[in-house]
C-alpha cells in the first residue's frame, strides 16, 4: 500500500513538463494529446470503472466543453480564465439534465440513452451554423493570453504552443488530483459499492440514483474541461469531435489501460496515442489495428495493461513469499 503515498500525479506532471525542452515540437504535440486524452479517459472511468455505468455518449460533455470554451473565446473574445471554467460548468449542467434521465435506466438502456443524448448534441452542433459553425466547425480558436507566463524566468523564450502545453498540463494535473481525491473519498467508496451491488447499496440506505447522478455530473464536468483544452490545442472545434464513435474510442482507452485502476486510463491514452503514431507511419489501416488490439484485449487481457502488470506483480510477490 506504499504505492498510494507516492505523489504520482506530481511526478508524472514534472516529467511531462520537461518535454518542450527535451523533445521536438512534434513530441510536445503528442504529449499534449496524451495529457488531454488522459483527463478525458479518467473522467469516463469515474463512470465506467468506479460507478459501473457504461456510458456510450461521454463525448457529448467533451463536445459541450469544447464548444462553450471555443465560442466564448472566439466569438465573444472572453479570456481563458472565464471561458475555461464556463466550459466545465456548461458540460456539468448538461450532464445534470441528461443524467437525470439516464440514471433512471439500467444497463443497455442507460448506454442507449447516453448515446442518444450525444447524438442530439452532434445534430445540434452540426446544423446550428450561426453559433457552432455547423459542418464547417469553429476554426482558429485563439490561444489564451500567456504574457504572464513569459515573465516567468526560463519560460519566456518558449513558443506560445509550448507555453499553452505547460498551462494545459498544470490544469490537467490539478483535475486528476481532484478526481483522485474524489475516488478515494467516502463519496467514491459509495460509488464503488453501487458498482459492485446496486441492490445492496439501496438496502443500506444509499440513494443509488442520486449518487449515480452526482458521479455523472462530476464526470461530465471534467470531460468538459478536457474538451475545452482540446479545442484550443487543436486550434478549432468541429462536429466530428462529438460523433458517437469518439465515445467508443475513449472507452477503448480506459479498457486498454485498465479500468480497475486510477492510472489505467492515462496509461491507455499514452499507449493508444503512441501506437497510433507508430502504426499510421506504416499503414493507413489504423482502425483495423485498433480493432485487433481490442479483440486481443477482450479475449486475452480483460484487465488491460495496468491490470496485467498488477497481476504479474502480485504473482511475483506471492512467489517470493512462498
Amino acid at each position: 500500500m506504499t504505492a498510494q503515498r507516492i505523489p504520482w500525479t506530481l511526478i508524472v506532471f514534472l516529467v511531462a513538463a520537461t518535454v518542450p525542452w527535451l523533445g521536438s515540437r512534434y513530441d510536445t504535440f503528442l504529449a499534449e494529446q496524451v495529457a488531454i486524452d488522459a483527463l478525458f479517459a479518467v473522467s469516463l472511468n469515474l463512470l465506467l470503472g468506479t460507478t459501473g455505468l457504461v456510458s456510450f455518449g461521454h463525448v457529448a460533455y467533451f463536445g459541450v466543453g469544447a464548444y462553450v470554451c471555443g465560442i466564448l473565446m472566439k466569438t465573444y473574445n472572453l479570456p481563458f480564465i472565464v471561458a475555461f471554467p464556463a466550459a466545465g460548468i456548461g458540460a456539468a449542467i448538461f450532464a445534470l439534465i441528461s443524467g437525470y434521465f439516464c440514471v433512471r435506466l439500467i444497463k443497455l438502456y442507460f448506454a442507449m440513452l447516453t448515446l442518444a443524448f450525444s447524438q442530439i448534441v452532434w445534430a445540434i452542433v452540426y446544423k446550428w451554423n450561426d453559433v457552432t459553425g455547423g459542418d464547417q466547425g469553429l476554426p482558429e480558436i485563439p490561444f489564451p493570453n500567456l504574457d504572464w507566463m513569459s515573465s516567468i524566468p526560463g519560460l519566456g523564450d518558449l513558443r506560445t504552443s509550448d507555453q499553452f502545453y505547460l498551462l494545459a498540463l498544470a490544469v490537467i494535473a490539478i483535475c486528476l488530483a481532484i478526481m483522485h481525491r474524489i475516488i478515494r473519498s467516502p463519496f467514491g467508496r459509495v460509488l464503488t459499492t453501487i458498482r459492485d451491488n446496486p441492490e445492496r447499496a439501496a438496502f443500506i440506505g444509499i440513494n443509488v440514483r442520486a449518487y449515480q447522478l452526482a458521479a455523472f455530473v462530476v464526470a461530465g464536468g471534467f470531460a468538459g474541461f478536457a474538451g475545452a483544452l482540446y479545442g484550443i490545442f487543436s486550434r478549432g472545434v468541429f462536429a466530428d469531435y462529438v460523433f458517437w464513435s469518439k465515445s467508443a474510442e475513449v472507452i477503448i482507452m480506459a479498457i486498454l489501460g485498465g479500468m480497475d485502476f486510477f492510472w489505467g486510463p492515462p496509461v491507455g491514452a499514452l499507449a493508444l496515442v503512441w501506437l497510433n503514431q507508430q502504426v499510421t507511419d506504416l499503414t493507413q489501416y489504423w482502425p483495423f489495428v485498433l480493432g485487433t488490439i481490442l479483440l486481443i484485449l477482450l479475449f486475452g487481457f480483460p484487465g488491460g495493461i495496468v491490470g496485467g502488470l498488477h497481476a504479474l506483480w502480485m504473482k511475483k510477490r506471492g512467489a517470493a513469499r512462498a
Partner: protein, 293 residues
C-alpha cells in the same frame, strides 16, 4: 401541387422506412433473444452492399444477375455471421454488456477497414435491375418502380417474420429463449443452436438489405456507422425485440425525417434523436415492446 409534394414526401419517407425496417429487424431480433446490441450490424449491411457489387461484376452476363448477386451477398454475410458467432461471440454471452458492446465495435473497426482494403475508397454503384427500372405516375409524381418494390418487400418480410415467430415450432423456441434462457436450456432445448441461428438470420437480413439498397444509393466507406445509428433509433422507437414494433418504428422514423425536413429543414436530424431520447425516457421498452426484467 401541395398534395403531390406531401405525397412524394410520404413515399420518400416510406421507402426509407422499409429499408430501415429490413436492417433494424435483424438488430431487434438479436437484441430480443441475446440481449446484445450489435454495432457490427451496420457493417454486415455495408458488406452486403459491397458483396452485391462484387456479385454483379461476376454474374453480369447472366439473366437476373441482380437477384443472384443479392442472394450471394446475403448468404456471404450470413456465413460471416456464423463464423463470428461460433468463434468469438459465443464466449462472451456470460460476460458484462460492456465487453459484448466493445466486441461488436471491434468488428465495426475491422470490417470497415477490410472493406476499404478489398474494394477501395471510391464510390461504387449498381444499376437498377432492368425489370424494375421504370417509374409509375401517381398523384402527379413519378414513383420509381424499384422503390415500390422495396415498399412491398418490407411488409412481406415483416409478415413472414411474424408468421415464423408466432406460428411455427422454431418461432416458439425463439420466443422461449427470449423469455427465459436458463429454463429453456434446462428443458433440454439446444439454446446454443437457437442463438447461432438467430445471429445468422439477422446477418442474412443485414446483408440482404445492403444488397437491395445498392440500386438507390452508391456504396461508400462509412455507410456502416451512419446506418447503425438510424437502425438503433428505429429499434428503440418500436421496442427492442419486438418485430412489429420495429416495423412501425421504421415507419414513424421515416415520416418524422421526411416531414421534419419540410417543417424545420436544419433540425430534422435533431428531431429523430430527440424522439429516440424521449421514448427511452418515457417508455424504455419502446412503443410496442414489453418491459423487461
Amino acid at each position: 401541387m401541395a398534395g403531390s409534394l406531401l405525397f412524394s414526401q410520404f413515399m420518400g419517407g416510406f421507402t426509407t422506412a422499409m429499408f430501415l425496417f429490413l436492417i433494424a429487424s435483424g438488430l431487434s431480433l438479436v437484441f430480443g433473444v441475446m440481449r446484445v446490441i450489435n454495432f457490427a450490424h451496420g457493417s454486415f449491411y455495408m458488406l452486403g452492399a459491397y458483396l452485391a457489387w462484387q456479385g454483379m461484376t461476376w454474374f453480369q452476363p447472366l439473366f437476373g444477375s441482380f437477384w443472384l448477386a443479392a442472394l450471394f451477398a446475403a448468404s456471404g454475410v450470413a456465413l460471416l455471421g456464423a463464423v463470428v458467432e461460433r468463434l468469438f461471440f459465443r464466449s462472451l454471452y456470460g460476460r458484462e454488456e460492456l465487453y459484448q458492446l466493445l466486441f461488436t465495435y471491434a468488428l465495426v473497426l475491422i470490417l470497415g477497414d477490410a472493406a476499404k482494403f478489398l474494394w477501395g475508397t471510391n464510390q461504387l454503384t449498381v444499376s437498377t435491375p432492368p425489370a424494375l427500372s421504370g417509374g409509375i405516375q401517381m398523384f402527379g409524381t413519378t414513383q420509381p418502380l424499384y422503390n415500390l418494390f422495396v415498399m412491398a418487400v418490407g411488409p412481406a418480410i415483416a409478415f413472414f417474420g411474424w408468421l415464423v415467430l408466432n406460428r411455427t415450432g422454431v418461432g416458439r423456441m425463439v420466443r422461449a429463449a427470449q423469455m427465459d434462457r436458463e429454463m429453456l436450456d434446462a428443458l433440454g432445448a439446444n439454446v446454443g443452436t437457437i442463438y447461432t441461428g438467430m445471429f445468422v438470420f439477422s446477418a442474412f437480413l443485414a446483408g440482404l438489405s445492403g444488397a437491395l439498397v445498392t440500386p438507390i444509393q452508391s456504396i461508400v466507406p462509412g455507410m456502416d456507422v451512419l446506418i447503425i445509428v438510424q437502425a438503433f433509433i428505429v429499434v428503440v422507437i418500436g421496442g427492442m425485440g419486438s418485430f412489429w414494433g420495429t416495423f412501425w418504428g421504421a415507419v414513424i422514423y421515416g415520416q418524422v425525417l421526411s416531414f421534419g425536413i419540410l417543417v424545420f429543414p436544419s433540425f430534422s436530424l435533431f428531431s429523430v434523436f430527440a424522439l429516440m431520447a424521449v421514448i427511452l425516457i418515457v417508455r424504455p421498452w419502446g412503443l410496442f415492446g414489453r418491459p423487461l426484467l
